[in-house]
Symmetry: D3
């Protein structure tokens, strides 16, 4: 039984998370379906894709399925991690991907929103990046994804406090392009999609790729990278990652 | 007959576009006059320059003169393009250049505003970057000019939708420093200019140049650059650029 | 007699400037105390530090003690400058540092706020970067510190005009995370501090360091750097630096 | 009739140019065969590939088929150029490629040798890079390929004089790993191939890819790249490229 | 019982490996002694350090103690690895370190020689980098250490074949500064050390640090780095690393 | 009375140092003449320039005129230093510059040779970089100029020992393109010059500029650069620079 619903009409593809009992968590199965849908849309020449929740529930997506995170002593966010694959697939998709966000996006889902090209939200949208609650050292490319989007102080507030950013603030700090009333979110999102679909898809694809390259271009030396990776490694071999994930699964507050 | 008007008083230079019947389009002739004015102001020790429209019409500038764009199969935005020369002249000018924007700035004119150091606007100011309507692959340095200024999602919305950004939003996302009522735009702009002119022009020149270098410093490898240029080349050798420019000149919607 | 007051409670350290008759200027003595306090907090495992003014006066800090700036013909902001050391100490501190700003922050103090991880302010907070008034060529790393935080047009307005940015605008452009009423500034700041202290300090430390590295990563070639340094050198060997600092100490307007 | 011969034995693939009447020129047809052979070897798990000439004639390969070079006014070395595709295929091949060079390698063939991982030659091997004779502006990534291999003065001598570098000097300056007598070239080359094939192919593939990334990592800003591309463009739109290619095809000396 | 011998005379420090029965393998204990010796020399103001083998045996150092390498499924060369610490200590030492090499240097010892500032060798010196025999994916900073020293084709030959480079070739390709007869190696090395000790140690320290920074400056994007690390990870989680290390310890040829 | 002799024939310019009693030291006057000659050759369309000594004496050039070096407490190698200007003029000259070296090149003259495109020498040529004898901290761009040319161990040996590199070794390590007998140096140099002059000067100019950009592209962060500059500053404000220059002028050995 599929975990997402997809449609393609007028060159506009739609991918809707449809896994309410897991609060649309980004488990490996759901991610595989999303990547397959993107591949299919690409083959069919979609000129824009809308990424949304099917149900309109309170949670747009709960993010990583914490139960699927690797055990302690292993990097929880390696290059081959399914979510990492999804983020790359969205960024490399040759047409704009619009996140249409009703409800809250947590952790990896927040990172996914940041990987989308445009973000349309309503008054219920909210965003939190939660690794500081899990004792999980976020990967450098993931941190950069946020830094390429948001003011530095906001990035730090999000990563250090793990607090939820409300819709009003999300618009002000640039997480979303526009916050519109919930009743018109769908209409506004698809209006934007239709506009984009009417433009030159070739010119858009070339500029999306240039923007991707430029926004990822924050080069650091190998020695520096290995130092940062060493800091991360000390965390995932240390007690915080164990305690944070255990507490989450036991639905209790962690003791760091 | 000149296409611009210039004055220099109290170390404040003013360049006013004055070519209403072409909606102040940035044709080669007008650009040559602007560059000459900048050279002259530099020689005369101007400490700040205001770039404005003379007429106060609805269009600050229509941007590239599409009729002057090169034919298909040739890069429409080479290094030697007059507009590219103008953008470099503004960035290299050793004193701040303030764009005073009443009305709309389109395409290349929008890029020009982004090349200015400060932007003062009123409630009529509006900004659109239009290559996706022309099927024109924008150059990488030009895209970076927007990325160095604006939140990433806004850059993408502008490049992918080609929609006009209103004054209110332009202030919120950082295109303009301040939006003031039309009646006081001139007064506020020149007040800012006088303040800047009273400061140490040498210290300002050194910091403007450092900011230019730092903001352009998004280094990418030659192999990557040639890949991006190859994507652009496929567009200007392909059908979209031909159709987009033809439709524009025929005043019809393009069929991409 | 100490120039600061410090406390550490519940893993939250507080450093309060307490030098009213110098308007909390960042002189070498005060800086040495702040750095010592940071070292001590680090040894004691502080999970967050609040940096504030003790008195609640109109000036949070006046910035560099201009009387301590080096004579003309010498770089006023070398690597070993006490303020430069303080900025590095704040950035390298392995836990978040929150600037709690009541009143105005001038020059070097404005740079210090930009070096903090989060900024909480009230309606009196205001920020100005003043080297253009002193004829002082700011150092490249310092300019980058502002560019990594603020929209480019705001950076330029601040450096070129030396004008004060008000609380309302400081929130809009991203200098502060939140502006709250003066009466609740302390409560809100320490609430944020407690939240951060409850998270995984190890995961936060690793991400703070990654963010620091990424935000400082704007690499430029040695030849370019030496060119920029040459521009600065021409200013501090030239008349503007002499006139600007003299005028400041004589409490008169400089004649540039 | 194929223009190359291929074999695969003991995990060692061999690709031999076999187009004597065109002096093994790297025309689009021959290149397509080589790329197809590499794809096939990759699928079959080859652990090393030897690239050689079948005939043992005086010319290892004449390089670009000048008759296939684009007309004037078009970039002769775009990203999609067949030779550029071949160079990328060799560099991206997940196992070492050894150039076994008997005879001379000209122009594009010289670039191809530089793209191989190891180079074994005999006393007849010789190397020239000839764009200065054709009035052809070489692409930046291509120049970097030489710079990543050879001392800077040698790169300049080769590009500015277009002179042939002899076997003895090629060994001294690092073009070839080893020069051995012609009679033992094949034996020595395949001995090296067998050694490599006995090692961990996975560890080798990972290090080859890291070396590729590091050696291509000479990042430059978009503005700088567009300036360099502008210089190249002035050449291929100018008289030298027309005269150089015409003279070559007419087998006469060019008059620059 | 110490594993090294140290002396300091005339500002020249000497560290001699003295662990013949382990062939001077770079185990954690020996490394700790070397780092402590460097710290002590630094405190005592040594102006140059000579790194040598005490015994003059056939092996200068066998490199990593393979028995100490981490088990499969863990990165064998993390940032905190003792050898990595030693390499950084040598590079950061504020005076030149001269490797005086009699005999062969294997694997990590070969990397150590590359980390030294100058290399003096005699006719017995020889160098091999052996991870391709162990199925061990070398770290990116380590590969760069070789690339900053040696011609690219030589780096590839060494990493892909794991063959030993002889003294004669080591001098030609730039591994050693000078190969001298074994009888005069000590005399020549200390003559060089005395010359260096007579120069301005402050000027030397500043230039050594600049050279270190410049030679490590090959910046790559986080996304690219994580891709390369992912390739390495696939190797150390895969069969080759297990087989390679097992075969080594069992003194048999590995079957990859 | 001019300090150089110049000729231009067959598009080949020659600049000969002719200041024997100062051993062709690179004083400000001589440098001004060389730069003027380059400007003149550029205006006249020279396709190659030969830089040589007129007299054929034992010293090609003594380098910096130490008597002209700035006093202590000031950077001895600022961007505006005449020699720095000369090095930039040679690198920016739009045609190859060949150093024809008979005799020894010291300090700044050695740097100048490294700035030339090709180097032809005879058995008397020799090269030393001497700042470690003067207690002078070399500038970062200058160190990079050597690193872009020579093997790293050789750069370190030269900077740390200040020893002279002989002709034989200079050829082996890549300082010179070719060492030829003194009797044929002139003939061989001008033969090379004629070959270059016969090629496409436009294609050569474009590739020279690309090579310059690529070879200078070793980007480092502002914070890192300021750290390195701080190390240099500690030296030129410290005792070694004072003692080194004083000893040189007093023709005695320095006591560091
Ligand atoms: Ni790892
Ligand atoms: Ni300085
Ligand atoms: Ni092009």
């Amino acid at each position: 039984m599929p975990l997402i619903r997809t449609t393609l009409a007028d060159k506009i593809g739609t991918i809707a998370f449809d896994h309410d009992d897991k609060r649309n968590a980004l488990g490996a199965d759901l991610i595989a379906e999303v990547i397959a849908a993107l591949d299919s849309f690409k083959a069919d020449g979609a000129r824009v894709v809308v990424l949304r929740s099917a149900s309109g529930g309170k949670v747009w997506s709960a993010g990583h399925d914490v139960g699927e995170l690797p055990r302690a002593d292993v990097d929880p966010l390696p290059y081959s991690d399914p979510l990492e694959q999804l983020l790359r697939a969205v960024k490399a998709f040759p047409a704009p991907v619009i996140a249409m966000v009703h409800g809250s996006a947590w952790g990896g889902a927040c990172d996914l929103v940041m990987a989308c090209d445009l973000v349309m939200g309503d008054e219920t949208c909210a965003f939190a990046i939660t690794p500081a609650k899990l004792g999980l050292p976020y990967n450098v490319a993931g941190i950069l994804n946020f830094m390429s989007r948001l003011p530095l102080t906001v990035v730090k507030e999000m990563f250090f406090s793990a607090n939820l950013i409300s819709a009003e603030r999300a618009e002000r700090v640039g997480i979303v392009n526009q916050v519109v009333p919930a009743a018109s979110l769908e209409a506004e999102t698809y209006a934007m999609a239709r506009t984009i679909a009417s433009r030159s898809s070739k010119a858009i694809a070339a500029s999306k790729e240039a923007i991707r390259v430029l926004s990822e271009s924050v080069p650091i030396n190998p020695a520096t990278y290995e130092y940062l990776h060493g800091l991360r490694r000390d965390v995932y071999f240390g007690p915080d990652y164990h305690e944070g994930t255990a507490a989450f699964l036991e639905k209790r507050a962690p003791k760091f």
